[in-house]
Amino acid sequence: MQKSYFEKIDETLISEVLPNGLKINIIPKPQFSKSFAMFATNYGGADRRFKLADRWIDTPAGVAHFLEHKMFDMPDGNALNVLSSRGASPNAFTSSGITAYYFESTNSFEENLRTLLSFVSTPYFTPESVQKEQGIIGQEIRMVEDNPSYVVYNNLMRCLYAENPVRDSVAGTVESIAEITHETLYHCHKVFYNPSNMTLSVVGNVDPESVIKMALEMLPVEPGEVPERDYGGKETSLPHQSEISASMEVSAPQFLFGAKLEPKKSGKARLRQMITGEIALRLLMGLSSPFFTRLYADGLLNNSFEYELDYTAGTAMILAGGESKNVEGVMNEFRSEIAKIASEGLSAELFENTRKSYYGSQLRILGSFSALSQSLADGAFADYCPLDAFEEINSISLSDVQNFIMENFTPEKLALSVISPL
């Protein structure tokens, strides 16, 4: 058990890697009444083709998400109900890269944690329950088809990536999920829900030693094999297609643009790339940036505008978008902003202010148990500690940020997805 105290932010992190390979991170918050636990596997919608015992195996789109739905079934009931009946709020999500199960509770934490560890590591599927779930997930797939922010995102993924399955919807399609059987689910659970492919993050009013002890007692002793994955052929740094558009019942054009970037695989290098990238985005497009304030005042952007740096399934990308009556105008302004930075460089004052504001935004994350648990899980899978950001940020220089912008925001790297009103 490794205990680190972060003086600047007055937080303690307890880390442990169990003999079976499970990584555990715990941040005790004794003043709070709630606790949050997240049990995640490094397995998501993009992990469709993988190698086991020298054999490549293909699975239909949507298995990871389907598993997420079905994992709550236990031989003696439903874990969602068990947790909820104790007043806990359980839930789960599947991204392209990970599947995470979590709960928040204000009492019976250890009992709830026991339930979490138990249902996620116990597969229980029947042909009937799988068939029924096909109906429920089919509804979910249809529901998101009416959601413009989902459609604009999914379309952009198809633009950016030529090969990587992140270009497909995490939930799959009504057709692809029809191919999923209880056997597919048992198989993929066996392959990807091994302790060595998983992590447990806990934030809250908890006793770290008993958390570790429980994980040790309850989870399999064998680490299991971590399969090699195939995300398709190597992607170039350019988008597969530069623009895509669709029409939907929306009030005004919705847009999302983005660029792929070469992800640093892990460790400090990854953390530094994240901080540099997030400062770069904030500086370029944040609330006080010349770009945003000018376009906001001109009526080209409104408060729906958002941006993010996202790492998933071996990819990294920059995304930005919102609503605009003149998307082409926004893109022209963005390109000229980049050209301006290329010729004039970044303002040192703006950089200093942005660094302070980024620091404040990281402090805010410490108050969100779910965001904090997720960043611990992301860190566990890529071998860095998110709390190191509070020190690391001091060593990021203006030229790091300038280089990041010049490398990743060149016009030919950008792809654009637009949803227009009918």
Binding site: S85, A88, S357, L363
Partner: protein
């Protein structure tokens, strides 16, 4: 966690929660105004225009850069609908000084900036800048028109609009397109001055500073606030106990969508004569407010009639609403199942397990309020408007006392008033 409440100026009430629990603090200044169709858009526009520029920080870039230098503090315009009261104001969230070694007066700097934004906006010849008003008005119109983008929220808004057509509650928190379209700088400035002078103000702070320090900072920041010593106009929410007609009214809209949205509105009825939030919340949780509820377990899980079905209760207005996403052809089956689950609660068909799960869920919701500045802020604002005078943890304890019989009594008083369905275009079906 102790709250203290004090009248710091005429009709300005400060509620303070002093705690070292959070890394970020919050401060909100809220003006309470009556919600109605004529003024809702104007009221909503005020805080948005106030965030555009002040006498010393002339534009958004200047304000944002000032906030960045205060370690990424944020001040946002806030517009809330609490029953038939429209609450407008500014909400700040900022790093607690304990974690910023170089700064010891973030609280004072934020308070002073909020005071300046509220009371000393950038003006020209005494009026709000025309450019700012028009730009924010256009953005408000975009928001109002953009409501159709989220079909679930839109269906709920349409339900309330239609169900409460004769009540102020039908007005959305942002008002209507037709009212917003015509707002001018002159008219808005005049309205702003009258709202500022006449509205009761609720200020909320949560963070490590002592109440005396918060009070001093506010009294200095709000010194120019026009205040009359007269009692402000009476404001409140008209609670209708019964449905409008004997049978529920049916409404429907068509849109190009793949999934239908069914929204059902009820009057909570006699329990609103002396509303007990603990038991009403437990009733809602038994019926449709949590994942062990009857709606979730039966309509979604057992019968697979929908992807989601849940209920929520508005204690300000005494309304219960069910929201559900369904296939178009499941309309009759889903509607009848949703209503029959309410019948089951009325009959007292509530297992020991259902009741205890509902109670745990509601109690836990109350307890977690104390773990979040944002939730605390909203909780104490609600408390200022409708009471009761309990802390979240006291309410959590009261929830444990709720009996099945109390839940049944509430359910018996509930009346279905209106049913709204957002369906696909006819030719598509």
């Amino acid at each position: 966690m102790n709250s203290s409440t004090e009248l710091i100026m005429p009709n300005v009430v400060l509620t303070c929660l002093q705690t070292t629990k959070f890394k970020t603090g919050c401060l909100s200044i809220n003006l309470l105004t009556p919600l109605n169709r004529e003024t809702a858009s104007k009221n909503a526009l005020i805080p948005m225009v106030l965030c555009r520029g002040t006498s010393s920080l002339p534009d958004m870039a200047a304000i944002s850069s000032r906030l960045d230098s205060l370690y990424g503090a944020r001040i946002k315009p806030v517009v809330r609908k609490k029953g038939e009261i429209q609450v407008i104001g500014l909400y700040a969230n900022f790093a607690d000084e304990a974690f910023i070694p170089e700064e010891s007066s973030i609280l004072e700097q934020i308070t002073s900036l909020m005071g300046e934004m509220l009371l000393m906006p950038r003006t020209q010849s005494g009026l709000f800048l025309r450019e700012y008003v028009e730009s924010e008005r256009d953005k408000l119109l975009e928001l109002i028109r953009g409501r159709i983008n989220d079909k679930r929220a839109y269906s709920m808004q349409r339900l309330f609009e239609l169900m409460c057509a004769m009540e102020d509650y039908s007005t959305d928190r942002l008002g209507t397109e037709s009212e917003a379209e015509n707002i001018t700088a002159a008219e808005l400035t005049q309205h702003y001055h009258s709202v500022l002078a006449s509205s009761p103000i609720e200020v909320f702070y949560c963070g490590s500073a002592a109440p005396s320090r918060v009070k001093a900072a506010l009294i200095s920041a709000l010194a120019p606030l026009p205040r009359s010593n007269e009692d402000p106009e009476d404001m409140g929410t008209d609670i209708r106990m019964n449905s409008l007609e004997e049978k529920p009214r049916y409404f429907e809209d068509e849109m190009q969508v793949t999934q239908g949205k069914l929204a059902i509105g009820f009057r909570l009825g006699s329990c609103m004569e002396d509303p007990d939030p603990a038991s009403i919340r437990v009733f809602n949780a038994v019926y449709g407010g949590c994942v062990t509820s009857k709606l979730f377990m039966n309509v979604r899980e057992k019968l697979s009639l929908c992807y989601f079905a849940s209920s929520s209760a508005d204690l300000h207005k005494g309304i219960l609403a069910v929201s559900s996403g369904i296939e178009f052809d499941k309309y009759d089956a889903a509607l009848s199942e949703i209503l029959s689950q309410l019948e089951a609660v009325r009959r007292g068909d509530i297992s020991e397990q259902e009741l205890s799960a509902a109670k745990s869920s509601v109690a836990s919701d109350y307890r977690t309020v104390e773990d979040s500045p944002v939730a605390l802020e909203d909780f104490y604002l609600n408390q200022a408007l409708i009471g009761p005078d309990h802390s979240p943890s006291e309410l959590a304890a009261l929830v444990e006392e709720v009996t099945a019989d109390e839940v049944v009594q509430i359910a018996k008083g509930v009346e279905c008033d209106a049913i709204y369905f957002l369906r696909g275009l006819k030719e598509d079906n």
